[in-house]
Symmetry: C2
């Protein structure tokens, strides 16, 4: 595996080293807004068939890079691969999102859960990682990822998506010891999983805590952040003689940036409800920042998109430490040309902030 990287803007920005312009990638950049993705998805049958086939996962990962001058690739996979490997039976119901055949709701079922071997039950992900890394040919770095323990737990206990998080919170509030056993197993699993991704070629990793923001500040620390910190502590932080940066992203976590930065991670992902300039003042001495345009701006005109990019660049201000991104995944209904405009605006307008 070659350590040479033709474009290392993304890694340099995360390390706050000087860059010529602000790097950019988009959460869910490989996905339904791209007609070539929809085409391949149709051929493959279902979503998990795409994820489980290393060649197809690689192809999907590379699709947005062929269209746009993005500064990073992100592994195409699902956030629920770990619970699936634990035997919960992941499936997708049209319009309903992910579901589990066997949710875990009591001590017995949590106790029975094993920690998946990333090279065995999750070997298909590792094969995808190494294939993508090879096929990237050093053009841009590859980002690996996992859902956070709390986020995985919400799906595992609820059995799918949820509005009120009643079941998972019932367990957290009523049987905290069972919840902690579950989260501990998940933290161990995620650590192994991300380290295996790194061993197989991921040059940076990101932990998506989609649902930490539905907790109170105390509960967030106890049930979500604590386990992300545990993972950060256990991660391989160097590969090929380069630092492997780790980014934490808690949706609706804007009130807790200080606590998140204190985990020792390298960067925080911000959703669009947080002012990026304020975030920099709060935690910019500790971590780099990723974000944070409202993905819905991509529904607007190219002029409006450009204007919003300018506002966010201005908000962050001069100097390195900013990776441009959306504040959440790109919406499936966005026109690819609008994504293109967004990326062009960032590459063009950001130069003056790096001199």
């Amino acid at each position: 595996m070659s350590a040479e990287l033709k474009n290392d803007r993304y890694l340099r920005a995360l390390a706050k080293q000087p860059v010529d312009r602000t790097p950019i990638w988009m959460m869910r950049q490989a996905g339904r807004y791209l007609p070539e993705y929809r085409e391949l998805r149709k051929e493959a049958g279902d979503f998990m068939a795409l994820c489980k086939n290393a060649e197809l996962a690689c192809e999907v990962t590379l699709q947005p890079l062929r269209r746009f001058p993005l500064d990073a690739a992100i592994l195409f996979s699902d956030i629920l691969t770990i619970p699936d490997a634990m035997g919960l039976g992941l499936y997708f119901e049209t319009g309903e999102g992910p579901r589990f055949e066997r949710p875990v709701r009591d001590w017995r079922s949590v106790n029975a859960l094993g920690i998946p071997d990333p090279e065995d039950e999750l070997g298909y992900v590792m094969k995808a990682v190494s294939t993508i890394r090879r096929e990237l040919k050093g053009e841009v770095p590859l980002i690996g990822f996992s859902g956070s323990p709390w986020t995985l737990a919400t799906y595992m206990v609820e059995g799918g998506s949820t509005k009120n998080f009643s079941e998972v919170k019932k367990m957290a509030f009523e049987e905290p010891e069972v919840m902690h056993m579950l989260l501990d197993k998940l933290a161990k699993s995620v650590t192994l999983y991300l380290n295996a991704q790194i061993a197989n070629g991921a040059q940076s990793v990101m932990i998506f805590d989609t649902w930490g923001g539905v907790l109170s500040p105390r509960d967030y620390r106890e049930f979500s952040l604590h386990y992300m910190a545990q993972i950060v502590d256990g991660l391989t932080r160097e590969a090929d003689g380069r630092k492997v940066p780790v980014t934490l992203f808690t949706k609706n976590g804007g009130q807790w940036l200080e606590a998140m930065a204190a985990t020792g991670c390298d960067a925080l992902g911000l959703d669009w409800t947080t002012d990026i300039g304020e975030a920099r003042r709060r935690v910019g001495d500790k971590v780099a920042l990723q974000g944070n345009m409202d993905p819905s701006i991509l529904y607007a005109s190219p002029e409006r998109i450009r204007q919003e990019v300018q506002i966010i660049l201005d908000g962050y201000g001069e100097g390195s430490g900013h990776v441009f991104n959306l504040g959440h995944g790109i919406h499936p209904g966005v026109k690819p040309e609008h994504a293109g405009e967004f990326i062009r605006a960032v590459t063009e307008l950001s130069k003056t902030y790096h001199r």
Copy 2:
């Protein structure tokens, strides 16, 4: 209408006058978690039939007060009465939440909207308010309410509930002048509506901004807060020789409390993602605070509920200015006995914070 009020703890706390204990009420305290509500709802047929019948709306409003020693009553009504009165055709689809037959998505349809006369098209709400006020017999104050202009606009443009807010944001970003015309009409309508509620007997009002938290900080100020401030400016602030306090509640608005407090409102409602002690330090010199227990705690045991109440009371600390509440509406699946435990814990444990 008598100005005598047997229990004015709620109003005193909002004015930061001394109280013997922290007052408490619960958002959605009249609702599906109560078997007597479900009974009446079944008899009445649908939800709007309950809202449109003053006697039934009054009965429903009083139900929780017969069970629990609550310190305030809140008008039983829907947040979408104004768009319904504007002619959009509100209906409810089982499991889907509210829907509009005729969403507004362009200049023409926004331009055609009238401002409803609260005593005419919304006369049924005013009749409910005066009936409830009369039947309360001065036991506790009556809270009137409205959805915020932005929140109403989301339903009006989307045509119902939404996950990504694509249509309403498309309008805000792409045709801001159309969106502002809509929000301006809504702000005028809400002002008239709340003033009519006050004229008919509401002793306090609350503005529910359920969806302001899906906006960026700048967009929140432009599309939501600006119009709430306009309403606060236009409200009747005194009735029966007493101040009529106004409370603003933006779900997921914890990052913007300073800006919210600067509107001149009397209190802020907090959801459970904000630490109430920090909120007090940030804006406690300007406004009273309402909140903020995670409603899901009510799924837990009485001991756990009591423990959480203690934590929140400790968080706010000593002195007046705190109205205890949940951070959002009570979930339909909560056992009434657990709500009772919650209320008992607040009434018992809060005394030591007021000496």
